[in-house]
Amino acid sequence: MSDTTDTGPMRAADGTPLKKSLARALRRQKLRALALIAPLLFFVLVTFVVPIADMLFRSVENQIVSDTLPHTVRLLSSWDSSTGEAPDEPVYAALAVDFQAAAEEKNHTKLGTRLNYENPGLSSMFRKTGRGADDIGKASAKRLTELDPAWKDGATWAALLGSDDWLANMAEWSKDDGRQPRFSARAEATSALPLTSDVYTAFARVVRTEDKKSAVETKPWPVLYTALEQDLATASPEALAAVGGPSAGLLQAAGAAVPGFEPISYKQAFVDMDKGWGEVDSWQTIQSYAARYTPGYFLNAVDLEKSPDGIQQRPEQQQIYLMLFWRTIWMSMLITFCCLLLGYPVAWILANLRASTANVLMILVLLPFWTSLLVRTSAWKVMLQQQGVINDILVWLGLVDDASRLVLINNQFGTIVAMTHILLPFMILPLYSVMKTIPPSYLRAAKSLGATNWTAFWRVYFPQSVPGIGAGSILCYILAIGYYITPELVGGTQGVFISNRIAFHISSSLNWGLAAALGTILLGAVLLLYYVYDKIVGIDNVKLG
C-alpha cells in the first residue's frame, strides 16, 4: 500500500517485525493444538500406558523376599551353598525374627507362594512353619517375664523403644481422637537394639493401621522377645547404658541376665517344625531369589530356571511355555495363510465386479466383521459340536456314521476354523482396498501381448497386490497371536494359545509375575510386527469399515 521505500524489516499491523509476529502466531497455534491433545494424552497415559509399564515392571520385580526376610537375606548372602551344608546358626536366628514378624502380618504365606513357583513344596513348608513360629518367641518371653513380669506389659516396650515425643503424644491420644500419632523410635534404642527396634516399628505400624489400637496398651508380639534376647546377647554394656527413658533400669537388668541364659538353637527349632529348613535346596532357592529384581520370571517363561550351577533347562515335565509359544506362532501362521487363501479370491471378485453388485456382496463381509465376537464363536460352537449342525448334515447325507461323528471342536481344528472365520474380514478389507487401485486394463494388456492367463496373473496382477497381502497378513497375524476368547472356547487343551496361559496365571494360579513376563514377551513380538507393519503400510493408513 505504502509507496515509501522502507528498507527496515517488514512489519505487522501493530508494528512488531513480521517474522516475530509470525513466529508468535505459530507458537500459539502449536500450543493450542497441544492443549487440545493434552487431555486425551493424559487420559491414555494414566489409564493405559502406565498399567502396561506396571506390568513390565512386575515381570522383573521381586521385592517380596528381601522385604519379608530382610535380616535373613542379608546374612544369607555370605553363605556358600556349594559346601552342601545348611547355613549356620546366625542365619536361623535372623530367620526366627523375620519369620515371626512376617507371620504376625500374614506375609509368610505370600512369600511361600512366591517361592513355591521356583521350588514346589516351599509353600506348604512356609505355611506349616507359620503356625508354630510363635513358640520360639514364647520360650524367650517366658524367660524374660520370669526375670521381671514388667516385660509382659506393652507399656514397658513402648517406653523402651518409643521416642519421648511419641510417648507424650500417645499419652494424650484417646480412641475417639481418630488417627493415632505415627510411631517414632528412640534413637539410642535403635543403635543399641537394632533388631528389636525394627520389629517394634513393624509392630507399632500394624497395631496402629490394622488393629487401630494403642501400641502402649497392646500385648507385645512374641517375636519381640526373640529379637531382644538376640540384641542383648550382642550389645555392649555401654550402648545399653546409653538407652534412657522409663524402662532403662529393666533393660540393664535384662542385659546383665541374658548372657547367662541357655542359648536357644533356632536351627533346631526350625528343623523341628519342618525338615525343609535343614535342606540346602530350600536355602538355595531363598538365596537365588533374594535380589530385588530377578530375571526368574522371564527364565521361567522360556522353560529355564536359575540354579546354583547357572541357568539351565527346567525338568522335562515342566516345560510347556516354549511349546505354547511355538504353537501360537505356527497356528497363527496357519490361520493367516487360510485367511489369505480364502480372502484373496473374495477381494479379487469384490474389486472387479460392478460397484452395485460389489456393495451388496460387501455386506456379506462386513456383517461378520460387525457381529459380536462371542456370537460368532458361539455359532461355531453350535456348528462344530458332535451333536451340531455340520455333523448332523454329514450323518444325514450318510457320509459319516452316526456312531462315529467327527470331533471338530475342542481341538486345533476348531480353533483354526473359527479364527479363520473371525479374522477373514481383516484380510479381505486391506486386500480389497489395494486391489481396487490396480487397473484391470493391465491384465488385458498382458493378455493381448500374448501372456497366458496364469502368466498375466502371476507376473502382472499378483506383484501389484503384494502390498495388500502384506498388510492383511500382518494384521491377521498380530490379531491371531494375541487371541484369547476363541481358543479358550473352541480350542480344548490342544488348541489354546499363550494368551490362555497368561489368563490362567492371572485368575487361577495367581503367579502374576510369570503372567507379566509372558505378556511382556508377547508384547515385544507384537510391537516388532507392528514396526514391520508401519514400514509396509504406515500406521496412519489404518482404515476402518
Binding site: L26, Q29, K30, A33, A35, L36, I37, P39, L40, L41, F43, T47, F48, V49, V50, P51, D54, M55, V346, I349, I363, L364, L367, P368, W370, T371, S372, L373, L374, V375, T377, S378, A379, K381, V382, V389, D392, W396, L397, G398, H421, N453, I478, G482, Y483, I485, L489, S499, A503, I506, S507, A515, G519, L522, L523, V526, I539, K543, L544, G545
Partner: protein, 405 residues
C-alpha cells in the same frame, strides 16, 4: 449385461445342456437318495429327471418365468408327497435352482460375463472361480445365519430338531427370548452393558474428537509419537492390556476405596468404564482424523472473518461437517465396549458382569440355548449399527463433496 456380446452362440442341446443337467441331477439325486436310504435309486432318478427337465425347458418353454415357476410347483408337489411340508419347501428350493441352472446353461448365460473370445477352458475356470467365491461367502455368512432359526428352538438343543425340519409350529418357540428378557442372570448383564458402554463411549468420543482436531492442525510437535501412543490400545493385544490393567486398576481401586471412601460397587464401574473408554479411543481418533483430512479449512477462516469466536465456529461450522465421522467413531467405540470381554473379565467384579461376559461363562460352563437368542438379538443390533455407519459414511462423502476444495 451383455454389452459387447451381441450374439452368444446357443450351446448345443444334446451335446451340452442335457448331459450337464444330468450330472447336476446325479449329484442332487444322490443327496436326496442317501437321505432317504436309497442312494442308487436317487442317483439314477435324479439324472433322468434333470436331463428331461433340461430338454423340456430348453426346447419348449422359452419364457423363463413360466418355466421356473412351473418347475418349482412340480417339485414342491413331488416333495410334499415324499416328505410333507418340509419336503415341499425343499422341493421349491431345488426346483428353482435346477430350473435356473437349466436356463443358465441352455441360453448361454454362463458365458455372459466372460469376453466373447474366451475359450471353453476360460469359461469353465471363470465359473468355477465364481463358485469358489460363492462358497467362501457362504462360509462367512453361514454360521451367523444358522444361529437365527436355532434360537427359536423349542427344545434345549443346539441343532435342528425333527419338528423344526418338518416346519411343525410345535418345534418353534420364543422361550429362549423370554428367558433372556426375564431371567436376572441375563437382564442384569444387559443392564450393565447398557450402563458401561454409553459412558465409555461418551468419554472416548469427547476426548478423542478434541484430540483429533488438535492432531489435524498443521504444526503439531511430535505428531507421530503422539499418534502412536493414542493408537496403542488398539495395537496391544487385549490379553496384554487386560493383564496390565488388572494389576494397576486393583491398586487404583484400593486407593480410591481407602482415600476417597467410595463404595466398591461404584469403583468397579469406574474401573470398567475407564478401561473401555481407553480401548475405544483409537477408533474415534482414526475415524475423526479421516473425516478431518477432507475438511476445508477456509470455512473456519471464513467464520472467524465474520466475527465468530473459536467455540462458536467449532459448534456451528466444524462440528456439523465432521459429525458423521464423530458418530461413526462413537459407534465403533460403543461396539468395542459392548463386545469386549477380556478386559472386563480381569478388571471388573461380579456386579459389573456384562452381556459378553455372561455369554462367555455361558459358553464355557453351563451351555444354555438362551445364548442363541442373545446372539440373534445382537446380530440384529449389529445389522442396525452397520446400516447406520454406512449411511453416515455416504452422508459424510456427500457433505465433503459439496465443500469446495
Amino acid at each position: 449385461m451383455s454389452i459387447g456380446h451381441p450374439e452368444i452362440p446357443k450351446p448345443s442341446l444334446t451335446g451340452f445342456t442335457v448331459p450337464l443337467m444330468a450330472v447336476a441331477g446325479l449329484l442332487l439325486g444322490y443327496v436326496v437318495g442317501t437321505a432317504k436310504g436309497q442312494p442308487l435309486l436317487g442317483l439314477i432318478a435324479g439324472a433322468a429327471v434333470a436331463a428331461a427337465l433340461g430338454f423340456v425347458l430348453a426346447s419348449f418353454v422359452p419364457d423363463r418365468r413360466v418355466g421356473r415357476l412351473g418347475t418349482a410347483v412340480v417339485a414342491a408337489i413331488a416333495g410334499f408327497v415324499m416328505a410333507g411340508v418340509s419336503g415341499a419347501v425343499v422341493g421349491v428350493i431345488i426346483g428353482l435352482i435346477v430350473s435356473w441352472f437349466a436356463y443358465w446353461l441352455s441360453t448361454g448365460d454362463y458365458r455372459s460375463t466372460v469376453p466373447v473370445y474366451a475359450t471353453a477352458g476360460d469359461v469353465l475356470w471363470h465359473n468355477t472361480f465364481k463358485l469358489i467365491c460363492g462358497l467362501i461367502f457362504f462360509f462367512l455368512i453361514a454360521p451367523i445365519v444358522v444361529v437365527l432359526p436355532l434360537s427359536f428352538n423349542a427344545q434345549d438343543f443346539f441343532t435342528f430338531t425333527p419338528e423344526m425340519l418338518a416346519f411343525d409350529p410345535e418345534g418353534y418357540s420364543l422361550k429362549h427370548y423370554r428367558d433372556f428378557f426375564n431371567n436376572p442372570d441375563w437382564t442384569r448383564p444387559l443392564k450393565n452393558s447398557f450402563i458401561i458402554a454409553p459412558l465409555a463411549t461418551i468419554i472416548s468420543v469427547s476426548l478423542g474428537t478434541l484430540a483429533a482436531i488438535g492432531l489435524s492442525q498443521s504444526h503439531v510437535p511430535g505428531r507421530r509419537a503422539i499418534m502412536a501412543i493414542l493408537i496403542s490400545p488398539m495395537i496391544v493385544p487385549l490379553i496384554i492390556s487386560a493383564t496390565g490393567m488388572f494389576f494397576f486398576y486393583s491398586k487404583l481401586g484400593n486407593w480410591m476405596e481407602g482415600n476417597l471412601g467410595l463404595s466398591q460397587d461404584f469403583i468397579g464401574y469406574v474401573k470398567v468404564v475407564l478401561a473401555h473408554a481407553v480401548l475405544g479411543i483409537p477408533f474415534v481418533i482414526i475415524t475423526v482424523t479421516a473425516t478431518l483430512v477432507g475438511f476445508d479449512r477456509s470455512l473456519t477462516r471464513a467464520a472467524a472473518n465474520m466475527g465468530a469466536g473459536p467455540v462458536r465456529t467449532f459448534f456451528k461450522v466444524q462440528m456439523p461437517l465432521i459429525l458423521p465421522g464423530v458418530i461413526s467413531g462413537g459407534l465403533f467405540a460403543f461396539i468395542t465396549s459392548f463386545d469386549e470381554v477380556v478386559v472386563v473379565l480381569f478388571v471388573g467384579s461380579a456386579s459389573q458382569k456384562t452381556l459378553p461376559w455372561q455369554m462367555f461363562t455361558g459358553l464355557r460352563e453351563q451351555i444354555s440355548p438362551t445364548i442363541l437368542a442373545v446372539a440373534t438379538v445382537l446380530v440384529t443390533f449389529s445389522i442396525i449399527l452397520l446400516t447406520t455407519v454406512e449411511l453416515l459414511r455416504r452422508r459424510s462423502e456427500r457433505l465433503r463433496g459439496m465443500s469446495p476444495t
